[in-house]
Amino acid sequence: MTTPRARTTMRVGAVAGAFLLVAGWVCFEALLVPIGSVRMPGAGFFPLVLGVALGALAVGLFGMTVASPPADTPSIWPERPEVLYLMGILLASVWLFERAGFLVTMTLFLAVATRLLGRLRWGTAVLVGLAGSLAADLVFGRALLIALPSGMLLH
């Protein structure tokens, strides 16, 4: 059985590891373009410095945690499932936005989100979604002339 401190160290280690991976990727990408020299720095010079700095800071974070383990650290996992569902709805809506268009996507998004967060009946939620998306289309699309996607269905 792991102690809370060991668990914390593992969690911080995972976070530091993730940042190290990002740092490695930044360095790799920086090396794909000319680094230049100190006299004439190239496009990769500053990104390389940043990648190295991020890596050093990630190692520093892990080192400080090992040297002086914190009493507790929170989990990255949301405490309420609604957060995960909302993330899923959000990502699905982004995928749909240009394909199905603004009206369809936002009607679905508002209906599902209000149903999820407010425990509304499906009928009420769909009405809210429809009213909300139509009102938004009127304000942003017609009044402010923002070019919102019509999507394949209404195209």
């Binding site: 401190r5 976070v15 940042f19 990002v22 930044v26 990408e29 373009v33 020299s37 100190v38 006299r39 004439m40 720095p41 190239g42 496009a43 990769g44 010079f45 500053f46 990104p47 940043l50 990648g51 991020l54 800071l57 974070l61 945690t65 040297a67 002086s68 383990p69 914190p70 009493a71 507790d72 650290t73 929170p74 990255i76 949301p78 405490e79 309420r80 609604e82 957060v83 909302l86 993330m87 959000l90 990502l91 982004v94 936005f97 603004f102 936002m106 998004f109 508002l110 209000t114 967060l117 407010g118 425990r119 809210v128 909300g132 998306s133 402010l144 923002i146 070019a147 919102l148 996607p149």
Partner: protein, 513 residues
Amino acid sequence: MDPLQSLLYGFSVSLTPTNLAYCALGVVLGTIVGVLPGIGPLGGITLLLPTTFGMEPVSAIIMLAGIYYGAMYGGSTTSILVNIPGEAASVVTCFDGYQMARQGRAGPALSIAALGSYVAGTLSVLGLMLLAPSLARFALSFGPPEQFSLMVLGLVILAYMGTGPVLKSMMMIVLGLAVAMVGLDQLSGFARFTHGRADLGDGVSFLAVAMGLFGVAEILVNVEQKVVQNVIKPKLRALLPTREDCRRSVGPVLRGSVVGFFIGILPGAAHIISTFVSYAMEKRLSGKPEEFGTGRIEGVAGPESANNAATGGAMIPFLALGIPSSPATATMMVALLIHGVKPGPVLMEQRPEVFWGLIASMYIGNVMLLILNLPLVGLFVNLLRVPQHYLFPAILMICFVGVYSVNLSGTDLWIMAIAGVAGFALRKLGFDPAPIVLAMVLGPMMEQALRQGLMMSRGEFAIFLSRPISAVMLSAAALILLAHLISVYKRALVRRRNGEGAEVLSVERPVSL
């Protein structure tokens, strides 16, 4: 032109019907943003940024600044009536403001907060008007090495004075700088981090990242917390403070104004820190410190004045040096850059209507807020009754429209969604994502200054230390880091001696930034 003439010119710009309307719209929207717990001034400015694209630059900046200081006013309403800060700078107002409301004195608390905010806001604009021109003249002598060193100092102070641990803030800064590197290199034209995608050639959309980190992530955090709001409805008949309330508030308001203004100039979470400093100062100066937290009017007057004065202070580095000191001013800078206006030492000469028009509009906006806020407090309180299951999806929908409208790009929506999820995760892990936004704005400028400095000196890093202003700034940055390392080492020693664990890495209850 002397400052008075310039100010009169500014009034002639900001008193046009269009600019007056945008100023009024900005302060009302700002108040709403401040009142609603799900969204802070930065989120509000970011959400409304796309609506300014069709405006004149001066109208755009007048409206965005109105949102910024309007939100500071509005934040106090939720602190006093619901005990939930509408934005981070109003946390301290909860201590005594809510206690006053529970004692049936919500009216005086709200009116002193509004009056104090008005006085502080006006005084800070006066300070801005007097200090910014001299600083801009001084900054005209800055070359690339000085500019680079100034940005390094600014980012070090940002990390030191931020709301999270210094090491984590520095990681966020470097991450933000790295994100800013995506796209075509300004000097050589090489594409970096784009993987051949043409839509990333101009870089990662600032708006998409900011909207994700402060719009989407904020909603996710609020959904997780599921805050139950018990709103205390103020009796409007008892809105005016007593003579005794006014007498006791004069000192805290004036002190809060000075403290807020000067702390506001510093990078980082200045408007938040200024409220804590003001509260601590009032508690120390008070003859009855034990009564703080039980409903003392000084505990409302000081911090509320300080956070409003900080908005004026924060405008100084942004307008005079072209270097934003907070994520909110960074967003305003992006708005000006989109309009082809570059803030900095030459702004006053090249675009005096923007500089002086903004300053004059802040005087007018503060008067508008005072006139609007007190009579309309009942209306703003009713906004708190809008159920969150309607409010949050509606805000997310506005995020979609706002991000998509800029480039009509689905990629930007993906960036927003990813930044939102990442922002939520970062907050859960105790990272404050605010420095990412600021670093994204400073990144290209910093890179250019570093490379130009090195080219000037033919590769000698000594150029950054041989020029006096640059050397002073880099030494100050090094001293701050050294002082922090020593204090961390000492704390670790004490903890080890006492056999305790290190500080908890959890983040405090996140509030809108």
